[in-house]
């Protein structure tokens, strides 16, 4: 069953992308797994096509396959024609792209190989408009040069709508209490929102919360405990030996808790980790 949503919950971002691309600038759309990068890319492309822009979509592949796909999309060659060498094809495709004033769209750009990225970088420097969607942590070559838009988790109300939409597709009824509990497990991640509804339908109640919107409170707890060491200085300041010794003991206890907490194995910060 396909759970691709028909509603765009990021109108503001979509409009900004469309304006940027129509204005002749490239953009890199970045988001964590399941946050909705591909969905927003899909809606933005639809909007661009509605406004008459020429869109060329590329799937991450080897440079040769990408060039062949582009040659066909740009009507440079027919399926029965003999294709030239890669370097010549690169030049011909680049010229055609420029001539047709098209926008190159690539989703999951983090899967692009180094030669493809190098070629795209060349195209970008030549003025070609690129619209890429990728996962974060891509601080290299082409990804560093493109203006970057990072997607934030969806608002509560939108996640609620995604849950309601998925429940309607699955033909199940959810009470507000169910929705509140399901939301707790998915954070602002729409992909996880769809998944938790399916898990609810099956009757699964996993304890694992896969979203990545966490704040580690351990340092705050340690800091609060270490504040107890102030008692030691107060005891010293007012000349109360007992308070001084008691404060010292609390300081040792706080240090032991700190040692223990920081020696615990750390969990993964990645989705599903």
């Amino acid at each position: 069953m396909n759970f691709q949503t028909n509603s765009c919950y990021r109108e503001k971002e979509k409009n900004l992308i469309v304006e940027t691309l129509l204005g002749g600038h490239s953009i890199l759309l970045v988001g964590k797994a399941g946050i909705g990068t591909s969905t927003l890319l899909k809606f933005a492309v639809e909007e661009l096509e509605n406004k008459g822009a020429r869109i060329i979509k590329i799937a991450p592949n080897s440079i040769k396959q990408i060039l062949i796909s582009l040659a066909f999309q740009l009507n440079l060659y027919g399926e029965d024609d003999k294709l030239p060498t890669s370097s010549r094809l690169q030049r011909e495709v680049a010229d055609a792209l420029k001539r047709q004033n098209s926008i190159v769209v690539i989703d999951e750009a983090n899967r692009l190989t180094v030669p493809v990225r190098a070629w795209l970088e060349e195209l970008h420097e030549g003025g070609q408009i690129l619209f890429l969607g990728a996962k974060p942590a891509l601080a290299r070559d082409l990804f560093l040069k493109l203006p970057r838009m990072e997607l934030k988790p969806l608002e509560y109300e939108h996640i609620r709508k995604v849950i309601a939409e998925t429940a309607a597709e699955l033909e199940i009824e959810l009470t507000p209490a169910d929705v509140a509990n399901l939301q707790e497990r998915c954070g602002g991640n729409p992909m996880l929102a769809r998944r938790v509804v399916r898990e609810h339908q099956i009757g699964l109640k996993p304890n694992q919360h896969d979203h990545t919107e966490w704040i580690n409170g351990t340092p705050f707890l340690i800091a609060a405990l270490l504040c107890l060491t102030m008692i030691r200085f107060i005891g010293r300041g007012i000349g109360d030996t007992n308070l001084y010794i008691f404060g010292g003991m609390l300081a040792v206890a706080a240090s032991l808790v700190r040692l223990f907490m920081f020696s615990l194995p750390k969990g993964s910060s990645k989705l599903g980790g």
């Binding site: 507000p176 966490w214 704040i215 351990t218 030996t241 194995p265």
Partner: protein, 250 residues
Amino acid sequence: MTAKNHFLFSISAVSLTLGTLDPFVLLIAGAMSLLPNIDSSKSVYGKILFPLSRLIERHFPHRTFTHSFFMTAIVAIGAIPLAFESREFYFAALIGFFCGWFLDVFTKAGVSAFYPMSMARLVIPANPALRLATGSKNEWFFSVIFLALIVISFQLHSSGGVMQIFTSLLAQPTGVSEMFRSHGQTNKIYALVDGQTATGNLSGKFPVVDLLSNDVFIIRNLARTIEKSDVVGSRRTEQTNYARRFIRRI
């Protein structure tokens, strides 16, 4: 965490921090600890105040807005009238509410403690495998710990509080002075003395009469049935000598 653990944790925290055994104060803390869970219609308060809990459920996920520092600030302001009645009631309500949601930080789901600034969930520790699943069997272990804390707290406060017990354990002369300063007006303070005076050994339990300095105090030697008080110093010989000199001056 279950309602039972929220209740027990809040009572133990309030009893330890406010140093009280007043059942009414502890009841306020326990009652307030269950209030953050009003965001679930399946909770105790959620069932009592169903329209409100349903309204919250329709707008917020579980453990978000009611489990935050923001909501704690609202409660702190809203509970001010309670402070006019008793300051202890006010702090019990506040600590009880805070402990009510803070305990959920140790669960798998955590809480949106920094709402509305951030929707991210505050958790301790970072590793989800080490956090507690709500309603799991491990909750019993925490129930036992919180119960033990309550018993310890009751024991401590019925014996004069943590510092007093600690002072008695250390048996320092400064502790006697400190205790005399704090409670001397309303209580008779006894010091266990083992030392020497000009007339010989002095050993036993004596009432403290007055203080001379931070670690020198005057006791009444009842056994000798004399009017003049003996002065007993601290730290064995050195201060006993000082006490001896002082007696001579008298």
